[in-house]
């Protein structure tokens, strides 16, 4: 989701008031541990996809919580659902199920 956007149409600022929280709400409802993240980055550190691409599961979850979901479908496609991230998460977050729910949310509440 490289989005350098010199187009000036939308700045880099997260505009909380006008963002889309439907995906975040869906995930929180089905996997509440989604919101327990402390941003430690262990999941990204262990993720094979993150080693090979610019995929970042920590940041992905955070941006969804901020209602920033542009390009989400392409991003989430990089995950191989291996579940390694879940093994290392210090908050015991069911990260794999979070990702499953991101996929489901994309299918149910969004046609992105």
């Amino acid at each position: 989701m490289k989005d350098w956007g010199y187009s000036i149409l939308k700045g880099r600022q997260i505009d909380f008031e006008n963002n889309d929280f439907s995906i975040a709400e869906y995930i929180t409802k089905h996997e509440p541990s989604f919101r327990w993240c402390i941003g430690c980055g262990s999941c990204t550190a262990t993720c094979s996809a993150a080693r090979l691409t610019d995929f970042n599961p920590r940041k992905l979850k955070l941006l969804i919580q901020r209602g920033e979901i542009k390009g989400l479908a392409d991003e989430i496609a990089k995950c191989m659902l291996c579940g390694k991230c879940q093994l290392v998460c210090p908050r015991g977050i069911n990260t794999r199920n979070v990702i499953q729910n991101i996929k489901r949310a994309l299918n149910t509440c969004h046609a992105l």
Binding site: Q13, F16, E68
Partner: protein
Amino acid sequence: MAINSQHIVIIGGGPAGLEAASCLGTAGYRVTVLEKEKQTGGKLLIWDKLFPEFRNSDKVLNHLSNGFKTNPPQILTNAEVVSVIPENGQHRINLRDGQAFQADTVLITTGFKLYNAEKKEEYGYQIYENVITSFDLEKQLKTGNPIRIEAGLTPRRIAFIHCVGSRDIKSGNIYCSRTCCITGVKQAIEIKRRLSDAEVFNFYMDLRMFGQNFEELYIEAQQKWGVTFIRGRVSEIAENKDNSLQLKAEDTLSGRPIKMSFDLVVLLAGMVPEPRTVEIGKSAGLEFTSGNFLAGLDSHISQNETNTPGIFIAGTCREPLSVAETLTDARAATVKMISWLRENETSHKKPLIKRDND
């Protein structure tokens, strides 16, 4: 009844002063507590519930006054101390009204003052009506009345801003006030308890959950109460036409600037020393920490002793502490005071009350 004629004066009747008074009283010493307000108790008179277990602050106050069963101290209220002058191996304690006391040893427990948040103009305290401090919120919670913003409405979105006047070279205070992170978590939970539909966001630089059950409370805030923590220091607040507040920060974990609107903003203002305590310290020849708190002799082995023999310090007049830490610190100081008094006993006048084996 006192078994020892040596006289101890404790300056400040907050948690530290009261705990020390009961320990020294139980050990048989003659103790006078000088309190500038009309009531003892310090900040516990203002706070509603205490972290980490949400106990009413009255419970701790009751514990402190129950400590006075044996050999109660003399407590003088409306007694503001202005200076302490070492004099012939003793100490003269001067009050604002001109009264003076003589003591063999002095314990300073004058506590802290809240950082004046008006100084951080970019946050608009006392400019925007819906920007308040953690102190103001605590007072409002204690009334038990529903939480309302100035216009009488129920706030829907509330922000807590950490590190206001702490860890900030621009405010002159580079130290961490230690208890404001957990106070922010406590107050965020308390708001969610009373307004379950409200959205609560805490903007922090680091979260310092050092004490017993603090991290647990942070987890509870996320898991049970849905409080959102955003890592990033708020750069400025502006007021919208409808008196709601627009807040700007960097969401550092996503590396993006963020803009949000709030109905109420609570500033977690830090702890600073009381200006009067600084004056007392100077009059007694004491040293100060880099944050201008009273300094102990050694940061490992003698935090409660000072460079002026016979003058001791405890509680938040020497560094930011929680109530539990303050009470532990006060007890530690009394042990040092008792050994000091024993060592210096012979150089003093005879005890007033003769003991059998004297």
